[in-house]
Subunit: 407 residues, 2 copies
Amino acid sequence: MKNGMKVVVLGGDGFCGWPTSLHLSNLGHDVVIIDNLSRRNIDNELEAGSLTPIQPMGIRLKAWKDVSGRKIGFYNFNIAEDYEELLNVIQAEQPDVIIHFAEQRSAPYSMKSPKHKRYTVNNNVNATHNVLCAIVESGMDIHLVHLGTMGVYGYGTAGMKIPEGYLDIEVPTETGERIHQQILYPTNPGSVYHMTKTQDQLLFHYYNKNDNVRITDLHQGIVWGTNTNETNLDERLINRFDYDGDYGTVLNRFLMQAAVGYPITVHGTGGQTRAFIHIQDTVRCIQLAIENPPKCDERVMIFNQMTETHRVNDLAKQVSELTGGEIEYVSNPRKEAAENDLFVKNDLFLSKGLNPTTLDNGLLKEVTEVAKKYAYRADFSKIPAKSIWTKEQRPGIPEQKEENLVK
Amino acid sequence: MKNGMKVVVLGGDGFCGWPTSLHLSNLGHDVVIIDNLSRRNIDNELEAGSLTPIQPMGIRLKAWKDVSGRKIGFYNFNIAEDYEELLNVIQAEQPDVIIHFAEQRSAPYSMKSPKHKRYTVNNNVNATHNVLCAIVESGMDIHLVHLGTMGVYGYGTAGMKIPEGYLDIEVPTETGERIHQQILYPTNPGSVYHMTKTQDQLLFHYYNKNDNVRITDLHQGIVWGTNTNETNLDERLINRFDYDGDYGTVLNRFLMQAAVGYPITVHGTGGQTRAFIHIQDTVRCIQLAIENPPKCDERVMIFNQMTETHRVNDLAKQVSELTGGEIEYVSNPRKEAAENDLFVKNDLFLSKGLNPTTLDNGLLKEVTEVAKKYAYRADFSKIPAKSIWTKEQRPGIPEQKEENLVK
């Protein structure tokens, strides 16, 4: 690894992008953020917001300068639309690495309406394609690191362990011979959002093949937790904590629900098994990804960026035991299998030195230091998951009326 | 099949869309075309045009009324941009079938520059997604038929026969067991254009799974020929014949080059094997596809819409023998394997009654009735393929100077 790399972070104002930017800056890299603040604007649209009081970008960057002495650059524009500006910034900044978080990342938001489906497809596919196009047009050798999702695999694995991106298969031929091949794991996305990430994979495959772009695609599990070593340094650096029905991730929602005395809402039976990772491990994984880039003629490198798998119902019970919160089983607004097993390989990051933060040692801290501390900011009306996958599904609203819930 | 179905043809002014519209109208279906005339506008941009004198849409539709007594409706707007208008037309017309040709369909055009790459991705992905979204929003049970390409498979089949969309595989597990699965054939697109069609497949898979949209995806080979029974009825109905380096398909280019006394330009060694289909068979296949729709809970139906495979060099020789034209081997502007075999299943269409037009019985007619007849309209400067896949490739320009070529 080069010391002090120039790193451009696309979507550096978001839940994963912001703590990643701070972590890499803290390591001595020269970090530049591009972000159009779309996540904050969607807060305005949804009339929802972070449980934690996040600061405007100007204050965030000043706080980081105060605390660390380091400067992070910032450009505000939309990479899915302003291709020329993206190319100009790449040519001016000459990055060694571009980290691409700049996609609409909520499955429920992507399913709210035709408008939201269309925004998600248009934004995510054009954002990713513009980055690839601009890297090729710049003529520079830039390592692109992309935040993908475990959801590209789908959750029906027929008992096998999900490999890191590529699957060994055998194809029986007419002569009875078996041809061995290694293919991109066949995708089975569960929402329009997840679908766009499967389309991203095809973009990466093509630009890697045709133009030798060096790409790392991180298939990330569901992130939980809020803060990292760097965002903890000053309250002005605090990270987002989403608890609303669209952007809140399942475990964080449970923690918040328990902290504010709202029912812990399990969708369906809670038999869904999912992969998880703490936000502290996310930023560490990104660091490991940029320290271990693929070679120039190497295929797209894929890591499974997760540390544990859990059944949703088990998580609910764990949070309930920890907090005394009450579990309520509600309608599942998503069209998905009610129950599934999930076995995932994550050897690559472990082999490179990842030392996971587990639920067992991080959960209670999250409840007391974040969920309870900022509970007074919660808007209960935003908690239920109301975006339904088709007209056949019902929103995940608890029976108890809002007014009866302790606040 | 219902008789007299309402059929909306997206891209009904194009090379495949126009003869399909006439063919279905002739069969008694009520046809409505939506087209923003982008193909004609690209002619303006490229300063190229059809060898055959195609008429404006107004004249085309009047001629069809004169000849057949049948009316074809026409809306001029961009389905990739004007979602509300698309939805309105679907709600007003209440189609039984939508046939989707409305994509940028040239591989070389898609590789000309970042602008062209970006246009192709943005246009094709949003066009397909808008159609799917609008079908779901309409709440109607509409059969969507999409023109895909054999190019989604790639051309490296390791000796096996390419199935119709789905591949039977075996996955060896850790316990030594083998899990049998049927997956979407792993894609390996050869251009940004082909890549968009692999992204379309993922859109179809998702909307079929989540919303039970009935979809037929036609993986078409390279089309040759110009006219069909219907376009032959009146010269005002004549179909496009593209011969330029971007939009001309390989066999039609050879026929035209031979007819005008230009070298038959083979890219590289001509060892590339590709799948072919005559335009008359294209319209017949579309007919068969709409007569044999998938059921409501059936997965995406995929047909290989091709009738023959040929090595490019063999085609060049066949055209040369037929016409006395001279073959010239030029640089390959594409990044692709110099040589490949190709074995393709096309049992589905044959089982439904397709009776192919073969090269052996159609080639000479095409040369005399189209290429020679309209040779006087050719612009030699537009013949070479100049769009290169990366900076490493060179345009496919013959050594002989233009001014020395007989015109």
